[in-house]
């Protein structure tokens, strides 16, 4: 069943020092290239998502206001900070910097976005998504948007698990997961 080389610090029996989330046995089935690919893709998504919002804070503030979730006083602050947070996060994911923090935050943010989208779907509020573009009617939030966010969230979960199981923490090349980098520090 286990054709891959055995990892010394990633025991099959749940969380341990090198694998605090206990996901190493599962991760072993996801090819490292895919794990890195998912991280790069997610980084690209965050970078792309931040671009238009950084250029048009006023329109993004309007989108946040339309969600009717944050108190009015927090709308503009969020509109100014969130796009930069997304772009920093995207950069971290792309270059493999601060991965434990970046991946955990990515999962956290996607969960919050999903919650906000689902909440407004549930109460029937018709809002622009404001996810990738701040412009106009093109981006109405709907079930497709929810599905897309769930997809990103799953990717983010894989990437987070990889970063938290010691061997995935560096920006290191694909091969690092197969050998010497596995020794417990």
């Amino acid at each position: 069943m286990n054709a891959e080389p055995v990892h010394k610090d990633a025991g099959p029996r749940g969380p341990g020092p090198g694998d605090p989330l206990g996901t190493a046995p599962l991760l072993r089935r996801v090819p490292p290239l895919l794990q890195h690919g998912a991280r790069w893709f997610l980084g690209g998504v965050f970078l792309y998502a931040s671009y238009d919002k950084i250029l048009h804070p006023q329109a993004f503030a309007q989108a946040i206001f339309n969600y009717q979730i944050l108190p009015d006083a927090a709308v503009n602050l969020t509109a100014l900070v969130l796009p930069w947070l997304e772009s920093l996060l995207g950069l971290c994911l792309l270059v493999g910097f601060w991965l434990p923090g970046a991946t955990a935050l990515s999962t956290l943010m996607l969960t919050v976005f999903l919650g906000a989208l689902a909440f407004n779907q549930w109460r029937g509020l018709d809002v622009y998504c404001g996810c990738f573009s701040t412009q106009g009617p093109a981006g109405t939030a709907d079930l497709g948007t929810l599905a897309r966010d769930i997809g990103f969230l799953l990717l983010s979960a894989v990437v987070t698990a990889a970063a938290f199981s010691r061997r995935g923490t560096g920006p290191p090349p694909v091969r690092a997961s197969r050998g010497s980098a596995d020794k417990p520090g």
Binding site: P20, F65, N66, Q68, V75, W84, G101, G185
Partner: protein
Amino acid sequence: MAFMFRNQANPWWQALWQIPAVICLAAAIGLAANQWRPDPLALPGDWSAGTRLGDAAGAGLAISLEEARRLYADGAAVFLDARPATQYAQGHIRGALGLPWQEVDRYFVDVAEKLDPTKPVITYCDGAACELSRDLALFLREMGFADTRVLVNGWSVWREAELPVEKSAD
């Protein structure tokens, strides 16, 4: 659990300081960038209904329910439903025309033929924060329907006042 705090290479420990660090960095950049913009956002912003419903010239767009009701009773105004067509079909102000803002290009020509530029137009959607009616009203003003107003949270207040509504015949 003790290992988590003993070992600084522990990913939990790293995440614990990296997350606040990246948030602080984003806040610093975001706020600084805002200062350099020619049109910085105010902090905190003013999102009250009165401010939001002004047009570029600062003229108020909102119409009170009382006034809207009077115009309705006299048949003096045309009501436009700015919500998506599906919601219009499920119920709208009786006699109102559907002009979904999200598909305004598709519907505008048909609806415009039925409008009288000399008569007031009243747009509405649902929810106090709904912007569809406002966007539609600004668009109509640009298109020459100068007397266009917004009934804020129109669908809800109209039903609460138990004024006439209807569903679309399929």
